[in-house]
Symmetry: C2
Amino acid sequence: MPDNVHVIAHPLIKHKLTYMRKKDTSTSSFRALLQEISMLMAYEVTRDLPLASINIETPLAPMEAPVLDGKKIVLVSILRAGNGLLDGMLRIIPSARVGHIGLYRDHETLQPVEYYFKVPGEMSDRNVVVVDPMLATGNSAVAAITRIKDTQPKS
Amino acid sequence: MPDNVHVIAHPLIKHKLTYMRKKDTSTSSFRALLQEISMLMAYEVTRDLPLASINIETPLAPMEAPVLDGKKIVLVSILRAGNGLLDGMLRIIPSARVGHIGLYRDHETLQPVEYYFKVPGEMSDRNVVVVDPMLATGNSAVAAITRIKDTQPKS
């Protein structure tokens, strides 16, 4: 497996995935489990975000304290399946900005066609996380990422 | 620092802690940030939970799939401050069982006095996580953990 593919082997994620896979899991439980898994994934995805220092005033004294560097992170959801993951991640990072990409596959050319694209401004100072729960050929994911790279985000 | 003390240096936790420390953070934001930090801590705390295998039926086929081993994990909150952490952790592990320990310090003897103790049954087959956001002398935490050890939990 290539180095830049990271499989999250956390026991809680495995456990919840098992229950999502079960045939007799209700739609409501499935959604709740997906949200819980997304919250756990948010931990891994944001593990290496760079920090900067600011001066703050606490109830006791002034101090220098760490905050995330740069402008707010962007979570870009590939419509529509990405939205299930997006919800859970926003529970952990409620101040994140959000973008959406809509793509479908043209039945004749088999190429992905973009029907929607919306991301926040000032992308050059933002880190982007693309959320999509499904890969088949990976064509849509590649198209989405290429399109986001055109906006020249920080990473 | 001893080996069995684990400091979580995740950038999102550091960032949120900075905002919790700020003097002008509202009570409502403080509570929300505490819940978000608790959700992130739940990831670290459950990282090494042991798994077992069960057979499940998916919509496509039967398969062998991983689930958490043993009976449901117990989150034990030290009253009352532990409850803030408990809420966030239950968002990630909603099926966890819950216990509570109430302790106060006797002003004359300076010893911790237990006024409440309630944990689920079958502790010998359960892993326990004690949640408490504050350490001063650590006397109450030690008393709480000693008391839980008396119930002979799995870990």
